[in-house]
């Protein structure tokens, strides 16, 4: 009989144990959350403390100095990264946006299922594999590493990202807008471009900026496409410098002065990416309020 009452009426000690266990687990989960975000602060702290001291006017205006000479900058790499991002956008934005238009406006459920699946697969391809593929596609036939190849590799990586975000915002445009357009006798392509895309334009631009921020720091696809360059280059069919490449090359070099510059370059790159993210946040905040 005593055993039976035990199961029906748990002892006070057991109750207390359960309550403390619950509190203990709460604390543990909180500690885990802190552990997850602490690397961000550690990385940012070292970027600022190591990078800021190496940042000066020369860093933004001068070319890298040859081995052994102190000083110099990464002006060409900063411009090179911007040029590569521009070329990537030329490849990625039209295909990505039009693919999103297909998914939202034209595709049947069945076709959409497979195209979305394919976009996810494409998104999962490791960045180094893109480097190898674009090398075989654009470097070998033209017998030279080039800015075009680097831009194409980054552009291919942008396509699935932009496609999915574009689709997501186009689907949010109310059907009644499209029906109103049809009722006025407007051609369907005009309905899509002038009404649907225009309504969702903020969201589409946000998606493009997110994709740009994602690929801005990519290094692996550029290793054997854009290659890197220690000089100014305005000829797109020749190797071009890029900030992530320069950071990588300097980081694995044995020279202290180059390490210092790598930190400075990393700080600038991180600054560019965070700026893009902040712009996205500002845009999408306005978007939410207007709804």
């Amino acid at each position: 009989m005593t055993a039976a009452t035990d199961t029906f009426e748990p002892s006070r000690a057991h109750q207390t144990w359960r309550r403390w266990k619950s509190r203990g687990m709460s604390v543990l989960l909180g500690v885990c959350a802190v552990a997850v975000i602490s690397p961000l602060f550690l990385v940012l702290y070292f970027l600022v403390s190591k990078g800021a001291s190496a940042l000066d006017w020369n860093f933004f205006t001068q070319l890298p100095k040859p081995t052994g000479e102190l000083g110099g900058g990464m002006a060409n790499a900063i411009v090179g990264t911007l040029m590569l991002l521009g070329m990537a956008a030329v490849v990625g934005v039209p295909i990505g946006v039009m693919g999103g238009v297909y998914l939202a406006e034209y595709g049947s459920d069945r076709a959409n299922y497979w195209i979305r699946f394919a976009a996810d697969v494409l998104n999962g391809i490791p960045s180094i594999v893109w480097g190898v593929v674009v090398w075989a596609l654009l470097v070998v036939p033209f017998k030279t590493f080039s800015a075009y190849a680097g831009g194409a590799a980054l552009g291919f990586m942008m396509i699935p990202l932009i496609m999915r975000t574009t689709e997501e915002v186009l689907v949010l445009v109310p059907q009644s807008y499209r029906e109103a357009g049809l009722a006025l006798g407007i051609a369907r392509w005009k309905i899509i471009t002038v009404i649907v895309i225009k309504t969702a334009l903020k969201g589409i631009i946000t998606g493009i900026l997110i994709a740009t921020a994602r690929i801005a720091g990519e290094t692996a696809p550029l290793l054997f496409t854009a290659l890197g360059n220690n000089f100014w280059n305005h000829n797109l069919s020749e190797p071009i410098a890029a900030l992530p490449l320069q950071i990588y090359n300097y980081a694995i070099s044995p020279y202290d002065d180059w390490h210092r510059q790598a930190w400075a370059g990393a700080l600038v790159l991180m600054g560019m990416i965070l700026t893009l993210n902040i712009i996205v946040r500002v845009i999408s905040r306005g978007h939410n309020k207007s709804n």
Binding site: D120, G185, Y248, I252, L274
Partner: protein, 323 residues
């Protein structure tokens, strides 16, 4: 979203006024969607074409051979496959418990005011480029691991295990695993969080009504319900970990050896391609690197497809939308 149900066949009016622009715009959209399929085919075709020479030279033995010697032109993939699998496994072992715990903290525990800031910080962590984690890894993390954590492990009872034997260089399989873990934490956390948020509140209320404590609610009502989705999140994280290149290359030590010790340097499929591709001076060497790329592509494809299918079936069962 099938449009055809809402916008049926074009009316004669539309067809008369805008025949060819409408059709060509539609074909542009179809073309863009087909580009996706074309790109996948292109990747597969280019890699197999490049790998053809190595495939015919070494056959399936390429995958199990441990010899990687550019001087004698003999190549085997096993050290790199081993390194990729082991470093990704370590990353998953570290990142999944931490990521799920953080997701639980965010959905079940944290004060509402704290939730959005923490989510924003995790998104920022996801925005840090691989090469910057690598830079931080080389100059900050690896020296700290070498001088403190690894020393501590080696001198504790863990040091008697074969996994923690041998000289400590700092750059090692374990360092690679830790860096990759940091890099896949954001995706594991955010997907787990989506899944936990889709657990119906009725589940929680029912457990509370039975007198469960906060932790018991999480364990009984939330975790058991979300278990499969969290597994999907872990597989998605694994897919990311396998292909991680720059940061791993910078901290794993880049030595093609198979060692039981996690303190020993290793090499991964992605990092050997990154390091040796531009130096490869024979056709067979380049072709072998292509075959490594092909192996990496096939493995990541299988893992990612499995994760997508797992998370898709869950969404089909009303587990909410997963991005």
């Amino acid at each position: 979203m099938s449009q055809s149900a809402i916008l049926p066949e074009a009316t004669p009016l539309i067809r008369a006024t805008s025949h060819w622009p409408d059709r060509s715009f539609r074909w542009l959209a179809i073309g863009a969607a087909c580009m996706i399929l074309l790109l996948i085919a292109l990747v597969g075709w280019q890699l197999s074409r490049g790998a053809h020479l190595a495939m015919t030279a070494f056959g399936p033995g390429f995958l199990t051979s441990s010899k990687w010697d550019p001087v004698t032109d003999e190549y085997g993939a096993w050290p790199f496959i081993f390194g990729t699998l082991l470093s990704s496994f370590l990353a998953i072992v570290i990142a999944v418990p931490l990521g799920v715990a953080t997701a639980l903290f965010l959905t079940e525990m944290a004060p509402l005011r704290l939730r959005q800031p923490i989510v924003t910080l995790i998104e920022m962590l996801a925005a840090v480029p691989s090469v910057i984690f690598g830079l931080w890894g080389i100059f900050m993390l690896v020296p700290w691991l070498r001088d403190h954590l690894f020393q501590w492990i080696a001198h504790s009872w863990l040091g008697y295990l074969p996994f923690f034997k041998g000289p400590i260089y700092g750059v090692s399989m374990l360092a690679g695993g830790i860096v990759v873990a940091i890099m896949i934490l954001p995706i594991i956390t955010s997907v787990s969080r989506e899944i936990l948020r889709s657990v119906p509140n009725l589940q929680r209320e029912a457990a509370y009504a039975l007198g469960a404590t906060h932790w018991e609610v999480i364990r009984i009502a939330v975790l058991s319900y979300a278990g499969r989705g969290i597994f999907g999140a872990a597989v998605l994280g694994l897919g990311r970990a396998l292909g991680e290149t720059m940061a791993v290359t910078m901290v794993i030590g880049n030595r093609p050896e198979v060692s039981a010790s996690l303190f020993a340097p290793g090499y991964t499929l992605a990092s050997v391609i990154a390091n040796e591709f531009t130096e490869a001076n024979s056709d067979l060497y380049i072709s072998s690197l292509f075959e490594l790329g092909l192996v990496l592509l096939v493995v990541t494809f299988l893992v990612n497809a499995a994760a997508q299918l797992m998370l898709r079936t869950l969404t089909g069962q009303g587990m909410g939308k997963i991005k």
